[in-house]
């Protein structure tokens, strides 16, 4: 296929596939997030045992329940309040990288689809986990303030580091990771050979043999 046609086909398919992929993801978003939420619950519980009580699904939402309470709109130490302070977490703002990646992946013409796709999903999962952890850290920092940042018995990253982690892992990685992954996996497809001005595979192999 000519590089121009491959590019046109990719763009058309990417736009056409985007909506059904996102629709499917909307249906499957909760089960997709379950392993990550479970793992993040274990990690946060072990990291901040005196702060985080649980991270779990409450209906369709994920709630980060803390060991702190609330009194007059301010977070207070446990025992000073009747209410427990919890923060709502939306894993969807991270996991939409899956349908985005799926649209890019299946819009590209290549020999093998399924195995590559599964590998890509396996790469996206750890990034999803890092994103959930960054989101929780930001909520704890903003919601608990010094109660969290000055914890004596745990390593708490600097506030600026938490902000940068949030910015990168929550706002940027979910959109960049699928593209980077797609570039990496499709490096030898006619589409990317054409885009990067590289010779077709057969010509490159012939030149290597001649050398």
């Amino acid at each position: 296929m000519q590089p121009d046609n491959a590019l046109r086909q990719f763009l058309l398919f990417a736009f056409v596939l985007l909506l059904p992929c996102f629709a499917l993801w909307t249906v499957a978003a909760q089960p997709l997030a379950m392993p990550v939420v479970g793992l993040a619950d274990l990690l946060l519980g072990a990291w901040f045992p005196s702060v985080v009580e649980s991270l779990s699904f409450h209906g369709g939402d994920v709630v980060l329940m803390t060991a702190f309470g609330e009194l007059d709109g301010k977070p207070v130490l446990p025992g000073q309040s009747e209410y427990q302070l919890g923060f709502s977490i939306n894993p969807g703002i991270l996991s939409y990288s899956f349908p985005f990646y799926a649209a890019l992946h299946f819009a590209t013409q290549k020999k093998e689809y399924l195995w590559n796709f599964l590998t890509g999903v396996m790469v996206l999962y750890p990034l999803f986990l890092v994103g959930v952890l960054s989101l929780c850290l930001k909520e704890l920092m903003l919601g608990l303030g010094p109660l969290f940042l000055d914890l004596p018995d745990s390593f708490i990253p600097n506030a600026n580091v938490i902000a940068l982690f949030y910015q990168l892992n929550v706002l940027i990685i979910p959109t960049i990771a699928p593209i980077a992954l797609w570039l990496w996996q499709n490096w030898d497809t006619p589409l990317l050979r054409g885009v990067f001005g590289r010779e077709p595979e057969a010509e490159e192999e012939a030149k290597t043999l001649l050398r």
């Binding site: 939306n90 939409y96 910015q167 940027i172 960049i176 570039l183 885009v195 001005g197």
Partner: protein, 172 residues
Amino acid sequence: MGTSSLKRFFLIFTVVLVALFSLEMWNPVQAHVVVPFTGMLASMSAAILAPFDPNVLAYGKVLQFKDSGFAVSIEAGCNGVEATIVLIAAVVAFPASWKQRIAAIVGGFFAIQALNLVRIISLFYLGDWNLEVFSWVHLYLWPALIMLDVLIVFILYLRYLSRERLETAHAA
């Protein structure tokens, strides 16, 4: 561009990306660049809508319907600055002359912001119609579309570069 060049590309891309994001988060940059720019986007959206819909009001970063009272505030993350940073990092990381890079960044900035205006206006009307659909499109679909726009701009730039190289090679 071989696999080692691809690794080099990703390395430079990551370094530039983190540096520019750190710069963007710096308070003076927020106060003197990002916030005024975001306000300008709201005014531009209102200026585009005004001839077609006299029901629209803009103040600061806010767009509002006069009749229903529904309003959207354009916040950080909705101003296309992040997408522009990603494009700048990609263009800087790819080998080309600085003239070509600057042209790509300027052209790409306008392409991103044009689509971002479509995003703001579409979300404004969607929100007035249905808040659930607004949230879904705002949080999930539009970020992907904006980054797809960045990818398309970058791909077109790469194609332009490879054609330039071919023409130079043929002329030589």
